[in-house]
Amino acid sequence: MATPTRHSIEDRQREYEALVLPHLDRLLGFAARRTATLVDAEDAVQDTCVRAWAAFDQLRDPRRVRAWLYRILRTVLSESVERQTRRAQLLPLSRLDNVHEALVTTATDGVFDALVSRLDREVLEAALQVIPHDFATAVELHDIEGFTYAEIADTVGVPIGTVMSRMSRGRRLLAAVIAERAREWALGAPAEGQPRRIPRPS
């Protein structure tokens, strides 16, 4: 392996910054939804960038830099913060499936329409913190980060059919969690002036 000259390293670093730094905000957002504090998220992103630089030669196709960065970030997060801070409790998935089924098959439109009209960012972010990690990741990568199914498969390292399944199941679980907790989160028909009680992620 030839030792790169200072000039070639500087060129590589410029290329690296041009490719990586535009994704910083998105990486930070993804990390922030998985860490307890913004400081932890920034640390994870910094680690990701340093690892990306150290492995920069492994990026064969610059067009895939985004998926590559998220793959590194997921590794960084899985090694530390994420396991400790997220989804400590087990969800009764079969019950949530039933809740979802009841929601889309209910005889009247009132409940369904009320819920759909209240699916805003705040509610969805809270629900994302609750559903199992694999499903949440697939949904976030697609709906928030704008990845295609093929890019998600590449990032997460699963077949595209699995991505499709996780997307469907993840969204169903999101809807079910929101429906189940509608009263707890004061989503139904709040009294005049009553504030919402959506818990912030711990």
């Binding site: 920034e42 960012r121 199914y149 969204r171 999101l174």
Partner: protein, 296 residues
């Protein structure tokens, strides 16, 4: 839930209901991909036909679209200029060339063969830090230096350096402000040609909270440990040496250790560089910040 099942299957025979349920389950697995436009056009057309007669599936599509739209509004925090600066500095400090790819190669890059042999020799002989009386050279700044024999704290810090040199530096890279805040003392990184601060974190060695600053110096790892308020903490030979000279050195076959006291506490510099080089770095900082001579 009983009410739901009652509503879901009104006036249907069980066989008919089961067939429709099975069909819906198969279709339901495609609805997410339908909403996201990830299905072939032919399949999309078939599903459109189904939605025209199926309230359940058309509702589900509505729900999925509302979920996707809501999530699409999500905006995370914006990376600050300070974070970008931190990242640029950290990347610059990672002196390993970008062509570092294979784990084995990476490991060998950090722990070179001669260093591994030196480590094995030291462990086999049991002598880690040996006395080395250093003589000042003409070009070296005129700061008096004494050398010492073994010291438990310095042994521990040497061992810590060996561990850090063979693995990735601690992953939770904090910035200097976090270290300053944790230690409660001013922390000024060393400065010198080719020297770059790579990481800073807090750690505990032999029960002492200390700051750990990792530098890259021409590809070599250099560690600075800062024991806050430890002007009078050292014992034995180290304490005695610090009372007679601003700089104390110790060395092994492959590592040099330089110790000095400053207003922020006791500083220990450990690295594979030459004793002269580490003393230059230490002296520079001593002169910038002013030595804090130990209390009698």
């Amino acid at each position: 839930m009983r009410e739901f099942w009652h509503n879901a299957v009104p006036r249907q025979l069980p066989a008919q209901w089961a067939q429709e349920t099975e069909q819906h389950e198969a279709i339901a697995s495609l609805l997410g991909a339908y909403v996201d436009g990830e299905l072939p056009a032919e399949t999309m057309g078939q599903l459109d036909g189904h939605f025209a007669v199926c309230r359940r599936c058309s509702r589900e599509v509505r729900l999925l679209r509302a979920l996707a739209a809501g999530l699409g509004q999500t905006r995370g925090p914006v990376g600050s200029a300070a974070l970008q600066t931190r990242i640029r500095q950290a990347v610059s400090a990672t002196s390993a060339p970008p062509a570092r790819s294979h784990p084995l190669r990476r490991g060998l890059g950090v722990l070179t063969l001669w260093r591994a042999l030196a480590l094995l020799t030291m462990l086999a002989t049991g002598g880690f830090i040996t006395t080395q009386v250093t003589s000042r050279r003409a070009a070296f700044p005129a700061v008096s230096t004494v050398a010492i024999d073994r010291d438990d704290l310095l042994d521990s810090l040497s061992t810590r350096w060996q561990a850090l040199a063979t693995q990735d530096l601690p992953g939770r890279a904090r910035d200097l402000d976090a270290v300053r805040s944790a230690l409660g003392v001013p922390v000024t990184p060393l400065e010198g040609p080719g020297l770059t601060l790579a990481r800073a974190w807090t750690t505990s060695v032999t029960g002492e909270l200390m700051g750990a600053l990792a530098y890259r110096h021409d590809g070599r790892l250099l560690m600075q440990f800062i024991v806050p308020g430890a002007v009078s903490a050292p014992t034995g030979a180290l304490r005695a040496a610090l009372q007679v000279a601003p700089l104390v050195t110790a060395s092994s076959d492959s590592l040099t250790i330089v110790v000095w006291n400053a207003s922020s506490g006791m500083h220990v510099l450990v690295g594979p560089d030459s004793p002269d080089m580490l003393r230059v770095l230490a002296t520079t900082q001593l002169r910038m910040n002013g030595a804090n001579r130990p209390r009698p």
